[in-house]
């Protein structure tokens, strides 16, 4: 970007930030008390003296004819932007006119935030994170929530040969896994069918069973218990085995605090701290990075956005309304208590994010304008954007 240009008859020179000195003669400053946030310059012609206009956010001359005529000088200082629209003019009545705009060196050196590299796909990252918060679980597979999956049950003898047997199967949840640090009521668990049978009735003595998962992302186990393994022979012992598995999505990546993101929303609904509620698909994370970078560069340079709930480490139902303590309301304003259920349904798969627009959990400087952020998400490939209370909600295709 060029920072110094020339054209006749007025000269611009960039040296200082967020301050413009309109210098047709000497300069000095006057003083101000409390600054206005946004200042609209009056319609007037200044032909003497040295005047300072300041605003904490912006200065413009929309709709006004603001003319600086030598030997007057004017200094404009604003926190984020100075817009000199048509109607502004600098006029020289004698000698060689010089219009000098001076910009702070820090601003001259400011560059747009580069878009972060898209996150790398990371199979099992969320699962590994969730497992680290538990112990004694050895998942052998991951099944998507609300899915049906075929497994095979069989019995082995002491020589590890497959033998026919009667067996029964039952399922249990490992409690307080995947960020669900609440267990009252207990979480629903997957179902298995049939839950008992004689393996000798099936080819290769492998009995097919269907595991139907719930919408809850968690770790579960199937207990397989032979029920007549002695088969009439003396001295044989039935040994129960367990098959651990995860219900969830194994490909979510972690969205950490960074130069553009400030995590919020943790430690609020018994779903762990901010390390548990910021997991996302690679596609959605790429879009969120892109939207956020564009938004900040265009509207709020040097700041971050506050990212609230995305998804749990392996996704699944994010039941933020499991207790009346959280004061949830439905779309008609009625109280909602829905343990292990929606709302927040769109946060089940790591495709949606809530970005703060109010100071409830976010510094004022990091809050977003909802329509503008929705627009950025839309350009970044979001398929659905809307206002969600005090947040901009952006959602990408699965």
């Amino acid at each position: 970007m060029k920072n110094a240009v020339s054209f006749s008859p007025i000269r611009l020179k960039c040296m200082r930030p967020t301050s413009i000195f309109l210098l047709l003669a000497g300069s000095c400053f006057c003083c101000f008390g409390q600054l206005p946030a946004n200042l609209d310059l009056p319609s007037e012609t200044l032909n003497s003296g040295n005047v300072v206009y300041q605003a904490s956010n912006s200065i413009t001359n929309s709709g006004s004819n603001f003319v600086v005529q030598d030997p007057a000088s004017v200094t404009l200082t604003a926190g984020s932007s100075i817009t000199l629209a048509p109607g502004f003019d600098a006029v020289a009545t004698t000698g060689t006119a010089t219009f000098q705009a001076v910009i702070n060196p820090d601003v001259v050196n400011w560059q747009p935030i580069p878009v972060p590299s898209p996150p790398t796909a990371c199979t099992n990252c969320g699962e590994d994170f969730a497992l680290a918060a538990s112990s004694g679980i050895s998942p052998q597979a991951t099944f998507a929530p609300s899915s049906s999956n075929t497994l095979y049950a069989y019995c082995l003898d002491e020589n590890a040969d497959v033998v026919p047997c009667d067996l029964s199967l039952s399922i249990a949840s490992y409690l307080k896994t995947n960020g669900h640090f609440h267990d009252s009521p207990l979480p629903p668990t997957s179902s298995i069918s049939p839950s008992s049978g004689y393996t000798g009735d099936y080819p290769d003595w492998n009995m097919p069973v269907t595991l139907t998962t719930t919408q809850i992302g968690q770790f579960e186990t199937v207990s397989v218990t032979p029920t007549d393994c002695d088969n009439g022979e003396e001295g044989e012992t039935c040994i129960e085995t367990n098959y651990d598995y995860a219900v969830g999505y194994s490909s979510l990546v972690y969205i950490a605090n960074s130069n553009i993101f400030y995590q919020t929303g943790g430690n609020t609904t018994d779903h762990g701290d901010n390390t548990f509620n910021h997991w996302m698909t690679v596609n959605a994370a790429t879009g969120l990075q892109q939207a956020t970078t564009a938004y900040l560069n265009q509207y709020n340079p040097g700041q971050k956005v506050c990212i609230n709930d995305i998804a749990l480490p392996i996704g699944g139902k994010f039941d933020i309304c499991w207790s009346s303590a959280f004061n949830c309301k439905d779309k008609n304003g009625n109280p909602v208590v829905n343990p292990w259920g929606s709302p927040h349904a769109s946060h089940d798969q790591g495709t949606a994010v809530d970005v703060a627009a109010t100071t409830n959990q976010c510094n004022q400087s990091n809050t977003v304008n909802i329509p503008n952020f929705r627009q950025a998400c839309s350009f970044a490939g979001a398929s659905k954007t809307f206002a969600e209370g005090s947040h901009a909600h952006c959602q990408w295709p699965n």
């Binding site: 817009t83 000199l84 910009i103 340079p301 809307f386």
Partner: protein, 321 residues
Amino acid sequence: MSPILMSGLIAFALFFEPLSQISAQAANVQQSVSDNQPPIPIWSGQGSVPAGSGDRKVFLSPDQHNVIILWPNPDGTESKKWFDLHNTIYPNLRVHMESSSGIFRYLYDLGNGEQSKDSLRDFSVVIYPDQHVQLASAEWTVGAIFSNIPHERVGIPRSPSGVLAVWTCKLEDNRFLQPGARTNFTITTEARPGFTSAATEHFPHLDLTDEWPDEILDQLEPVLDLKWIQYHFITLGPRYGPDDPDAGIAADYIVGIEELVRTHRLAQDSLFVKEAIADLDAIASGSSAHFTITQKPASELEAEILSALELSLHLAYRAPK
């Protein structure tokens, strides 16, 4: 005096060293290329919903400027509600291209037609992914590059995707481009010109909140898809990298011109078009001869194409002696 915008701590992107070697200006083709099929069923809102609608709650009005929604009531009944999509826009776009020392500058002049009902609130161009590209705008934001998401060039068949250069207006500042108004945008890049697409729209189309039923939000998705809801232009813009071979560029131009002929945006019997195609055929075949075009462009679009050909392939106009 020119207006000066210093926004977001970036300033003076408006001003450039003189780039005077080659310059051309022409009005662009003024027809949306997104005039494809409506993405959801159309219903007048009168009488019963169209047969076979099943559980559909969202329909487009016949003029495609509204959605008609069967909104659920607490008592289980439904109310019919109309929502304006704010897509009654008739924008127009001109592009002026020039180059100097291997740097190309594209000046887009966007107008919102007098007959539009809605303001314009963003503008985007699909461009070549040049790391050093600079964007500027006289009145809107400085612009942003959506570099990590490949973007289709709408209406240009077989073209590779590019990245999106986007300008928006700060919605709370009320700087929308009202009907009858114009504004401009600048791209400075090392990428050479070729056919690409640009788009504009009002935003937001609907003030969606989480109070809208999920099934309605789901059914609105295809309506709010940018490919359908935005007004798309075929235009000229940064398309080719500095090292892209002339033969490939020429072949691409042929595809683009033929598409414009097919869609009646260029006249099939235009002498300019015929001569340009003949020259481009030769370049695409590997000829390194120096070609000229002796037929004067007969339309603004042809003039714009000639300007791009001069900059990309040095295919210059020379009046017959």
